[in-house]
Subunit: 235 residues, 2 copies
C-alpha cells in the first residue's frame, strides 16, 4: 500500500496519525515488521513498521527512490466545467492516467456553474485515485477560473493544446518531443464556441482533433491524455 505524507520524512522515521493510522491499523491490520511505501513529492520511501501505539504508527525508512510511475512530461488538464458527476469521473481517470494538475474553468457553453466550493471533495478524489494507481504525487485540483485566465495560464506551457470538436490537427510524437510541460484544454458538454477557438489559436495553442467520432466531454480528456502519454513513450 502507498501512504502519502504531508512532509518529507526527517531522520529516517515516519509517524502516522489520524485517518491513515486508522486505515492502516484497523482496516488493513498492519503489524510491526510489515512494509509500507510512503510517498512524498514524487519519491517513494520504503518503511518497516517499528511501533504501533493507541494513536500512532511508527516506521523506519529503509530506502528511498524516485517514484517510477511519475511521467517525465507534466500534463495539466484545463477542463471546462461539466456536470459534477462527470467532473469527478474526469478527475479520477486523468489522475490514473498520469496528469500532474487539473484546472477547472468556465467556458461560454458551460451549463454547470457551481456556487458551493467543492475543492476539498475534488482533492479527495484525486488523492484516492493517486493511491490506487501508484502515483508519486497527489495531483492538485485547482480552483475554478475563467476561460480568459485559463488561456493566460496555458501560455506558460511548452505545449498548449486545444481540442476542438469541429476538427484540427492530429497529435504527433514530434509535437511532444523534448517538451517538459503540456496543457490540454477540453470543452464542456456543448464544446467550444468559434470565438473561443479563435482566441485559443491567437494565444498560440495548437488546435487539435481526437478523430471523426464525437466524444462526450468526460471521454475526450481520457482519450487525449491516453494518447499523449503514449506519445511520450510512457503510456
Amino acid at each position: 500500500m502507498r501512504i502519502f505524507l504531508q512532509d518529507r520524512p526527517v531522520s529516517g522515521v515516519v509517524k502516522i496519525y489520524g485517518d491513515d493510522y486508522i486505515h492502516l491499523t484497523r482496516s488493513l491490520r498492519v503489524g510491526c515488521g510489515e512494509e509500507i511505501t510512503f510517498v512524498h513529492g514524487g519519491t517513494d520511501f520504503f518503511g518497516v513498521v517499528t511501533a504501533i501505539t493507541k494513536d500512532c504508527l511508527e516506521a523506519k525508512i529503509t530506502a528511498e527512490k524516485l517514484a517510477e510511475s511519475e511521467p517525465n512530461l507534466k500534463i495539466t488538464l484545463f477542463q471546462a466545467m461539466p456536470k459534477f458527476d462527470k467532473f469527478e469521473q474526469i478527475i479520477e481517470k486523468s489522475v490514473e492516467l498520469g496528469v500532474t494538475q487539473i484546472v477547472p474553468f468556465l467556458s461560454e457553453r458551460c451549463v454547470s456553474r457551481p456556487k458551493n466550493d467543492k475543492s476539498q471533495r475534488w482533492q479527495k478524489i484525486s488523492e484516492s485515485a493517486a493511491k490506487q494507481s501508484g502515483r508519486g504525487i497527489i495531483p492538485e485540483v485547482g480552483r475554478i477560473i475563467s476561460f480568459k485566465e485559463a488561456v493566460e495560464q496555458m501560455k506558460t506551457f511548452d505545449l498548449p493544446m486545444f481540442f476542438y470538436e469541429t476538427g484540427g490537427e492530429r497529435m504527433t510524437a514530434e509535437m511532444v518531443e523534448n517538451k517538459k510541460t503540456a496543457a490540454v484544454m477540453i470543452g464542456a458538454e456543448g464544446g467550444f464556441s468559434l470565438d473561443e477557438s479563435r482566441r485559443a489559436e491567437a494565444a498560440g495553442m495548437k488546435i487539435l482533433t481526437l478523430g471523426k467520432r464525437i466524444l462526450r466531454c468526460e471521454t475526450a480528456p481520457v482519450a487525449a491524455v491516453s494518447i499523449l502519454m503514449y506519445l511520450t513513450g510512457e503510456g
Copy 2:
C-alpha cells in the same frame, strides 16, 4: 440527428413508427421539409420529411454515403466482467471511441457473475452511445462467454491483443499496419492471473502494457481503444 434503421431503406422511402416516431415528432418537434440522417449498416441516408401522420413519419431519401465515422480497423473489445455500473461505462465509452463489438467474458478474478440477462439493457446503452457519437453502426454487445471461448474467438482476429497489468510490449503503429480486425482483451477488477496470461500467449496473442501506472478496469479499455484508434490514423 441520426436515426438507426432496422432495415435498409427500400425504393427511397423511410417510415418511422414507435419510439423513434415519438422522439422525432414530440421531443424534437421535427416538421415536414426538415432533414434527418438515417443510418443502416455503416451507411448514412439523408432524408427529407414528407409526411407526418398520427403514428408514422415518412421521409424521402435524397442521398446516401458510407458513414465517415466508421473506422477501417474493426475493433472487438473482449472485456472481463466487472461490476455492472463499470461495464455500462465501458460500453458507452468504447462505442463512442469506435469499437465494432463488445464481448463480455468471465475470467478467474471476476467478482461479478451475473445471473440475470442484461443484454437488452446493454444493447440500449450501445445504441444511445452510437447515436450520440455519430456512429454508422450500433455495436453489438455479445452474450457472456468463458475465458476459454474468448481466447478461441480471438484467434480469428488479425491482431489479438492481451493487456496485462504486470507489463508487456508497447503498442506500435507497425502492429496495426494493414490489419483489418483487432481484438482487445482487458481484465476485470483484479486483472488476469499468470495462468491466463500464459494461455493468452500460447494462443498467439500479443502481451501488451498500457504504461507504468495501474489503471482501473474501466479506464484500461478506454485508454487501449483511444491509442489503437490513434495508431490507425483515425483517433
